[in-house]
Amino acid sequence: MPDLTQAFLELIRLTSTDLSPDVESSLRRAREQEASGSAAQSALDTILENVALARQNSTPICQDTGTPIFYVQHPPGWSTSKLTEQIRAAVAEATKRTYLRPNAVDTVTGKNSGNNLGDPAFPTIHFEETEGEDLLVDLILKGGGCENVGAQYSLPNGRLGAGRDFEGVRKVVLDAVFNAQGKGCAPGVLGVAIGGDRGSSYYASKEALFRKLDDENTDSELSKLEHRLMEDANKLQIGPMGFGGETTVLGVKAKSLHRLPASYFVSVSYMCWAHRRRRMTIHGDETIYE
């Protein structure tokens, strides 16, 4: 098994400093939609200028480089403990090189570890054994501001008049976007999971964030829901940074999970505009970043 520490380091650098093209394009489109000279447009101008500068200087787009969350899909035969070791070494090195901010705080003592290595859940690494020959590694850097505005609902919800159907899902997701206001660094991207238990539901809502902003959900019902939610969320006019404006969300990605008869959870993971996610593919001797 090869030592991929350097490849992981490059994946982290790229994710932290070079925003994905689909996210940048959607920010440009959002800029065009805002009124000329508005605070919303000015915020998006600053955002786009910062994106270019971070890429040019290889410095973090946002200082809150969040919890590094890795999803690793590996063919049979790979050692997950060795991969974990290499990822952790790369995370510590990336912190030293200021691609990442030291973010792992011991909740009992209050001490920051200084190198982003905490207990086995920090950084978070998910492994899945897959068919095929390639090793796929997805990384998302999700900051605390947007993580704090995530929400989970149990349907029915009387306060919002939300029943156990997609109409109910629509209502609670809009409530979550309203509650977030600009605090999650709008315009955000919503990962929405419907069903599951509390844990699997939140997990799936984060997985949904790996999808490209311009893709279509393969399930036609979920696709319709995504479009409706995007349209409605933007009608809230919270706008970039919560300054008011046309763009409150850049995208909505939904996923459904089987649920217990008694449970109907809706989980919303809010991702800030600095939607830092990248994929690395190890294909034979080749390493591809996208």
Partner: protein, 206 residues
């Protein structure tokens, strides 16, 4: 764009209105969750006795905060091994977590400007009116860009809080922000929330 030099006078504060773009020049400090709790517990409510370098740090902060600014920011800092510090990425963090503390910190230190993102609540708005002071919104996530306005790191206190939570004394030039809460009880955040609530109610009824 209005250029403001720190420390700020009451007259300058009273002239600022929500929606004004400003650029700040002078010396300010970063301070967020741990710092606000430490200030309140140790020096405002005095529910905890000063220990270690607490009093020394407090004395160092008093002249900077009098008429000054605090920035809700947990930066990425280079030079941690040599002590030759520089800011690499330094956007604002979400301010609302300091809502229980901020107004009292403003009153205690005569703090004129609170810089962060996402806005703050009624307690801080009241303090803005009284002190007087303003809340300045920086662009969240614009960390590489904002770091360029940090000319120099003058000192760091409470590094044992961790890099993001420490008190960094920084000299800034043309630090960009927008007034979203002023000393006349106006708040962009209240306006946007009120409008979006009306929109939400319509969408829930449809």
């Amino acid at each position: 764009m209005q250029k403001i030099t720190l420390p700020i006078t009451d007259d300058v504060i009273r002239e600022l209105r929500v929606g004004d773009s400003v650029s700040l020049t002078g010396v300010m400090i970063t301070g967020r969750d741990a710092v606000h709790k430490w200030m309140i517990d140790t020096f405002v409510q005095k529910s905890r006795k000063p220990e270690g370098d607490d009093e020394m740090v407090y004395e160092a902060l008093v002249p900077i905060l009098d008429g000054g600014a605090i920035y809700h920011c947990g930066p990425v800092v280079a030079g941690l091994d040599t002590g030759d510090y520089s800011f690499v990425a330094a956007g604002p963090t979400t301010s609302i977590r300091e809502e229980p503390y901020q107004g009292d910190v403003m009153r205690h230190f005569n703090l004129k400007a609170v810089i962060g993102k996402g806005g703050m609540g009624p307690k801080t708005l009241e303090a803005c009116n009284e002190v007087p002071g303003v809340y300045l919104h920086a662009i969240g996530g614009a960390a590489s860009l904002i770091a360029q306005s940090v000319q120099q790191v003058r000192a760091v206190h409470k590094l044992d809080f961790g890099v993001p939570e420490a008190i960094w004394v920084i000299e800034v030039k043309d630090f960009p922000a927008v007034v979203t809460m002023d000393s006349h009880s106006s708040s962009v955040h209240v306006e946007v929330e009120t409008h979006s609530k009306a929109q939400l109610d319509k969408l829930l009824a449809s």
